[in-house]
Amino acid sequence: MITIAERINGMFLDVKKAIKEKNASIIHELAKRQTEAGATYLDINVGTAAADQHDAMRWLVETTQEAVKTPIAIDSQKLDVVKAGLEVVKNEVMINSSQGEPEDLDIYIPLAKEHNAALICLTMNKDGVPQDVDTRVEIAATIVGKVMEHGMDMDKVFIDPIILPVNVDQKQPGYMLEVFSQIKLLSDPQPHITVGLSNFSQGTKEKSLLNKTMLIMAVAAGLDTALMDVLDTDLMDAGICAEMVLNKQIYSDSFLKAARS
């Protein structure tokens, strides 16, 4: 599966400190460890730590690139912070993320095309995060329509139906699985489907087990990528096993290793 590694995020104290002190070695190590763990993309999010988010994004992208050639996901809700990251990125790149309003998509899709970037689009509109299946699928359809209108390669589009913490509303995980399969059913060619997996277990005990369980169920429903903790070996193994069980990867005795290479 396509994994987007979540650890270079200013919400984590070590990264917050690294940004503040411009301590490159902390970022280098996180970039290398996550790459070795099998990350497809390294997500970079300045969080709320920095006074100057533009400067922090540029520094994080450049510092990460010093250590690895792994593709980078520039993660910000602010367009100008995303652009600051794009100015300095040399590795392959993903933009994380656009909202699902047509006027947002009309800005982000051309921007992604200009930089040959992949793009995460949230099924979220001006009313916020939908709580039901239908609105999420409707926004996904708007996204797919806009992608086709702009002639963007569907293989570079990642739809994120926004997973909520399980302890917030227990109906939501079931809705998510329904949304995954409906998006896959409605689109041809199909976009990727992704989620911010750690959000699912936010504020709970048994975080790793909950993430693992949700990941396996989600993969069965059509999810093929996630923003997740790639350093959780059991979680990565669970995702790889789920894809192998679905015959998306050929079994071999070393299949766990092969999937990370």
Binding site: D155, Q249, I250, Y251, S252, D253, S254, F255, K257, A258, S261
Partner: protein, 319 residues
């Protein structure tokens, strides 16, 4: 109305592998053979780049074959005791892109030939022909591990394709091919899972993927060709979908498998209802080959010169 683009784009590309080295590249070959490079299914040039055309290797043995039927043997009768002349004929008259030297004679039950004798056979072939060489052991682990390192060392720089590394016996041959700059055949018994596993094992030893050619034991027409076809096809689709361990070129053994079929061996008097003995084996070999090239194979090992020319003509028509 705009017509929808139905091109099937692939995420992966089959590795390009070059066999043989010219003088400038440290070898003595006049020409080299490059295979692989596909990012579409075989011959689907409207979807992408189908890569290099399949190459034909003609087999030469280090001992005279024992059980070849007359319609086949008559083309080689005067050279079966001289592998160098045999190879020369395949290269100059029968249109081989590569020579595949099968070292049956080193097997303890079939001659138990020494390393020195084998090295001198290999060298005589390299002198007789200027096309690249495939060197295949006898599939007795002990003898292969004894002889192939000597052969590898003696041909250092020639960028031969040497085989085969199996799940049970891969370390010695992988190490010598790595050290001497040769390409390597990874071998599995018609088992896609083992095929993938052996590629992982040899790459773990540091062997580069752009020097690996996969071999799944071939099934001829009537003898498991469907199984073999579906494994090649599944492996190729996986490789094109981004599974790097499966994105290596494939070799198949059509000559040997076709000519041991009873349909190729039974004489006119034994099987009068099966059509002419003179043509049957050739057709068996040609049909096996033209079927398997659709499944995604990059080198076809063959025997009969007429079957070779039928298959070559067919490949030209498809490309």
């Amino acid at each position: 109305m705009e017509i929808a683009n139905v091109v099937e784009k692939c995420a992966g590309v089959v590795q390009e592998v070059t066999i043989g080295a010219t003088k400038e590249e440290g070898g003595t070959r006049r020409k080299t053979v490059t295979i692989g490079g596909a990012n579409s299914l075989p011959f689907m040039d409207f979807d992408g780049n189908p890569g290099h055309k399949p190459a034909i290797a003609i087999d030469v043995y280090d001992i005279p074959p024992e059980d070849w039927p007359e319609p086949l043997l008559k083309h080689y009768e005067d050279v079966v005791n001289n592998p160098a002349n045999w190879a020369k004929r395949c290269a100059e008259e029968y249109g081989a892109d590569l020579i595949c030297l099968k070292l049956d004679g080193i097997h303890p039950d079939r001659g138990n030939k020494s390393a020195d004798e084998t090295v001198s056979t290999v060298k005589s072939i390299l002198e007789a022909v200027d096309i690249p060489l495939i060197i295949w052991g006898c599939e007795n682990n002990e003898r292969d591990n004894e002889i192939l390192p000597k052969v590898s060392e003696a041909t250092k720089g020639e960028k031969c394709l040497i085989g085969g590394a199996t799940q049970e016996n891969y370390k010695t041959i992988t190490a010598v091919c790595l050290a001497d700059g040769h390409n390597l055949i990874t071998q599995a018994p018609v088992d896609i899972n083992i095929g993938k596993q052996i590629n992982i094992l040899v790459t773990d030893l540091g062997f580069p993927t752009d020097r690996i050619v996969m071999f799944q034991t071939t099934g001829a027409l009537g003898y498991g060709i469907e199984y073999c076809y579906s494994i090649h096809e599944r492996g190729r689709i996986a490789g094109l979908s981004g599974d790097r361990q499966m994105a290596t070129p494939v070799i198949c053994d059509v000559g040997h498998e076709s000519w041991r079929a009873k349909e190729s061996k039974a004489s006119d008097s034994e099987a009068p209802q099966w059509g002419s003995f003179a043509d049957r084996g050739i057709m068996w070999e040609a049909i096996t080959a033209v079927t398997l090239i659709q499944s995604g194979v990059d080198i076809i090992r063959m025997y009969h010169p007429e079957a070779v020319s039928i298959v070559k003509e067919h490949i030209e028509k498809l490309t």
